[in-house]
């Protein structure tokens, strides 16, 4: 599957967590502050070993909670350091208020996040409820289909965050990617270091020659302008993300965009999905194509900022679309990805595709090729007019009655 595409690349067998730690070792941030949580523990555990062994010169802050982890990372970043952290699920929840402070102060923090369900009931397995909960926090969100993408995304995230002045998180699906050993191509340290470059903040609190006040009160007269700046920065970051991806492709040979199109250009039925399930769906698409069914796939890589215009353009010709969410918004309406896809289509004047929404895989529930094939079967019926699209969110592989 994974091939060496970079002349000095090396194929190794590693888990998602191991390659994220490997990316952090190569980037060698000034400060990492983190608290362990399954299934993300290994990332910072391995990194703390690098620190203890003197492999990296980074400062590792062992804090007493994720709230403190994010607070320390914010402080380090404000002081002028390249700062990173890692977490999952409840840990991200505990960081909640600090996530908004990181983005509001426009600090380019990078977080290695492993998607895991949120309690209650207590569950440690993979779903995307945690980062979907943080979707409006002003963080760039980059999702990975496999370990290779997780590694590549971490390297790109460092440059994206620093250029956009926005905190950026890179996710993998809990256990499915984080603990699954795969073949990954690693690049030499020197090339990664050259790619991310040296961090030179325009201003930082430890710069005694240019003192300033950070995080002051901001009431009716200026708060709105600062929030507008943040929203605009998120819109502007789309070009930055694409430019970094282009440079990454030029350097290391792997192509990345805001999303990946798989057999989509002539597709009549398509699934829109985020993360590891895209890999499963690609297998189904190939099988259906052999049977002559024009199935396609759109895998969202960057969920925040959402590539609204381009997604609408690339889905406009599809007759029936299923948006698969690995998180439920419990909104009484639809799940988060569906909401963004449909509003993107409608805003672009695209009203011909029939769009249905499925929630799947909560708490690590199995999602396999049979489940996905069933979704495509339904889409074929909807596309031909044989079946009416459901007007509410549907659930894959759950015992309802």
């Amino acid at each position: 599957m994974i091939k060496t595409v970079f002349s000095k690349g090396k194929l190794v067998a590693k888990t998602g967590n191991e390659v994220m730690a490997e990316a952090m070792r190569q980037i060698e941030p000034d400060v990492v502050a983190a608290y362990p949580i399954t299934p993300a523990t290994e990332i910072v555990q391995i990194f703390s070993q690098f620190v203890a062994d003197g492999v990296v010169k980074s400062e590792y802050v062992a804090v007493e909670s994720e709230h403190s982890a994010m607070s320390s990372t914010i402080a380090a970043s404000a002081a002028g350091a390249r700062a990173m952290t890692g977490t999952s699920s409840q840990g991200l929840c505990l960081m909640w208020e600090m996530l908004y402070i990181a983005s509001g102060l426009r600090l380019p923090i990078v977080m290695a996040e492993v998607n895991r369900a949120i309690s209650a009931p207590l569950n440690i397995h993979g779903d995307q409820s945690d980062t979907m909960g943080a979707r409006d926090s002003g963080w760039i969100q980059i999702y990975s289909e496999n370990s290779q993408e997780a590694y590549d995304n971490m390297i790109q995230a460092t440059r994206i965050a620093e250029k956009a002045k926005l905190p950026t998180l890179v996710t993998t699906d809990g256990f499915i990617i984080s603990h699954c050993m795969e073949v990954v191509e690693l690049y030499p340290d020197a090339d990664v270091k050259a790619f991310v470059g040296e961090y030179k903040p325009e201003r930082y609190l430890l710069d005694t020659k240019k003192p300033y006040t950070l995080g002051s009160i901001d009431l009716q007269d200026y708060y709105f302008e600062h929030r507008y700046q943040l929203a605009q920065a998120m819109r502007d970051s789309k070009d930055i993300i694409l430019n970094v991806a282009k440079d990454f492709e030029k350097t290391f040979g792997r192509k990345y965009e805001m999303y990946e199109k798989f057999m989509l250009d002539d597709a009549e039925v398509a699934i829109v999905v985020i993360g590891s399930t895209a890999g499963t769906a690609k297998v189904v698409v190939n099988e259906l194509r052999e049977k002559g069914i024009k199935a396609g796939l759109l895998k969202i890589r960057v969920f925040r900022p959402f590539p609204t215009e381009q997604v609408a353009k690339d889905l406009a010709h599809v007759k029936a679309i299923a948006v698969l969410d690995r998180a439920d918004s419990c909104s009484g309406a639809f799940a988060p990805l569906h909401a963004d896809v449909v509003s993107s289509l409608y805003a672009a004047g695209v009203t011909t595709p029939k769009v249905v929404n499925y929630v799947y895989g909560l708490g690590g529930r199995e999602i396999n090729t049979t489940h996905i094939a069933e979704v495509y079967e339904t889409l074929v019926k909807i596309a031909s007019g044989a079946q009416k699209p459901a007007n509410q969110v549907e659930y894959i592989n759950v015992r309802k009655k």
């Binding site: 509001g104 102060l105 426009r106 002045k165 201003r203 300033y212 006040t213 950070l214 200026y222 507008y228």
Partner: protein
């Protein structure tokens, strides 16, 4: 933001990125108007131990070097003193150089 910029408000494009402003803006912000009781300093009683100065949360005890180049209390900064009374409370019992008085309306 300082007084000047409240007259002509900056746009999102003009504002520095993120929530940051020039340093030392608290000096321009007159918090003395919040006060309901005011500390009154008695120069003759004061032994210049500087306990009030180190205790003041608003840096409102004014100090300066005297002719012997020793640091002495010179007064109270009523533009920033919020009238919390800590200076009066902390002033040594035997000295009582600072007393709190009702602020006139």
């Amino acid at each position: 933001m300082n007084k000047e910029s409240t007259n002509k408000k900056l746009t999102a494009a003009e504002l520095p990125v993120g929530d940051y402003v020039e340093p030392g803006t608290a000096v321009a912000f007159d918090t003395g108007s919040w006060r309901s009781i005011r500390p009154v300093w008695n120069k003759d009683k004061c032994i210049h131990c500087l306990t009030c100065w180190i205790s003041c949360p608003d840096a409102s005890i004014k100090i300066a070097p005297d002719e012997k180049k020793e640091t002495v209390v010179t007064g109270i900064d009523y533009d920033h003193c919020k009238g919390c009374g800590i200076c009066s409370k902390e002033c040594p019992v035997k000295v009582q150089a600072i007393t709190m008085e009702q602020e006139k309306k």
